[in-house]
Symmetry: C2
Subunit: 233 residues, 2 copies
DNA sequence: GAGTGGTCTAGACCACCCT
DNA sequence: GGGTGGTCTAGACCACTCA
């Protein structure tokens, strides 16, 4: 584990534990240098991560301050699996595996040159507080993962990739649109026709630059919320 | 202008000009050190920004590579005014100012302790290719900007804040939801009732930590698209 | 003037990739 | 082995804020 990662994690834990409540000031760069016996740039890197993630903001000449967090929302600015998300939000979540089939990457993802790309299609339905709210269609490229033998109910695809196959996920590119519910959506989620669907399509990249999977995550729009921070450049 | 900012801007220009096409390799850290006569951390900072913005990806042991860009979409991961966005996408855009009135921050933004916060409400309608697609409701805090005398059609609120008032915008916090169209939406955008609205509510922060404005940006959902990059931590 | 964050330097060692 | 990115150091100077 890197030094800046350790410092980041410890500070984040202290924020979440309430040691640094909303608007509180974090230790200064120099305080962190002494506390962790690191160079200033190392402590700054840890804090820069917290800034990136929207936990704190830095103000020149004043200090680093905790920003009020809205915890009951869907963050889309990080690559985060459904299971990690639900655990973080402490929601009662349940996932039901529907099918695992041999398939191809759907043309909507505009991948490759019209030749079919073999993939394993995984369809799952996500419940929050016992209400079906998300249907995930994952297309895992067979070039990268030849076979998905058995997907335990208790293991996410990301965990499978990272822990069992030793692959490291680094980036995702996400597209958000709003589309009408299709027949499958309405049936699986028990929707009236009038409810639209928020569709988040993702390409997930490994740290060696390969694409490992395409995902279409279909959220019922009246249960969808996303919060994110953005910096101005 | 900072050195890393200059390097970043020049590299980005070269990417957009096609000098580094998709999948091309950017100069290495050491090449950039020589080219710009800077320390390695400075050149790395410039490239780190490009990574943040999703233009390139770095692969250990191999190099830094350009990622294919999808340019015709709404980026929501940066604080960017409508005018800046439209200019970047080279779309035919037009903005119509509807009203400037004395108002208060609506309760939906959950700001303060239920006491009304005085603000100037600015309502504008945005056209892309002569079709009305976005209605923006801005609430500019009177504590920060006491009066908005006259808003030229050719000046955005951000330009007004930054250039005329010398304020520096640094962060925004955005919430995305999907809601039914209200009567105003339907009338101004000429919508059938069945079209939902993507609502992006933002709080915009100055670099001194003050909030300057709240914005409710209402997009007709069938014309809405957002693309963003996210890194896994 | 003391404290804060912002930028920058000139090194160093490491892990990883490719040939 | 040579090139790449990832981390880290021990300084330095600056702009800004606050008392």
């Amino acid at each position: 584990m890197n030094k800046y990662q350790i410092i980041h994690d410890e500070l984040l834990k202290e924020i979440n534990d309430g040691k640094y409540p909303n608007n509180a000031m974090l230790p200064s760069d120099f305080a962190l240098m002494n506390r962790y016996h690191v160079a200033r740039e190392t402590s700054r890197k840890a804090v820069a991560m917290l800034v990136d993630e929207g936990y704190v903001m830095r103000i020149k000449g004043r200090g680093t301050f905790v920003i009020n967090q809205n915890r009951y929302s869907f963050p889309i600015s990080h690559v985060e699996s459904y299971r990690e998300l639900a655990a973080r939000l402490k929601l009662n979540e349940r996932t039901q595996l529907l099918t695992i089939t041999d398939s191809e990457v759907p043309s909507v993802f505009e991948y490759g040159d019209d030749t079919p790309v073999p993939a394993t299609a995984v369809v799952r339905i996500r419940y929050l507080d016992n209400e079906p709210v998300i249907i995930d269609h994952d297309y895992v490229l067979k070039d990268v993962v030849p076979e998905i033998k058995k997907l335990s109910q208790s293991v996410s695809l990301f965990e499978l990739f990272e822990q069992q196959l030793g692959l490291v996920i680094s980036y995702a590119k996400k597209t958000i649109t709003v589309e009408p519910a299709n027949a499958t959506d309405r049936q699986l989620m028990g929707l009236a026709e009038s409810i639209p669907i928020v569709v988040i399509r993702s390409e997930t990249f490994l740290n060696d630059g390969r694409i490992i999977s395409f995902t279409e995550s279909r959220h019922r729009a009246d249960r969808f919320k996303s919060v994110e921070f953005s910096r101005r450049h």
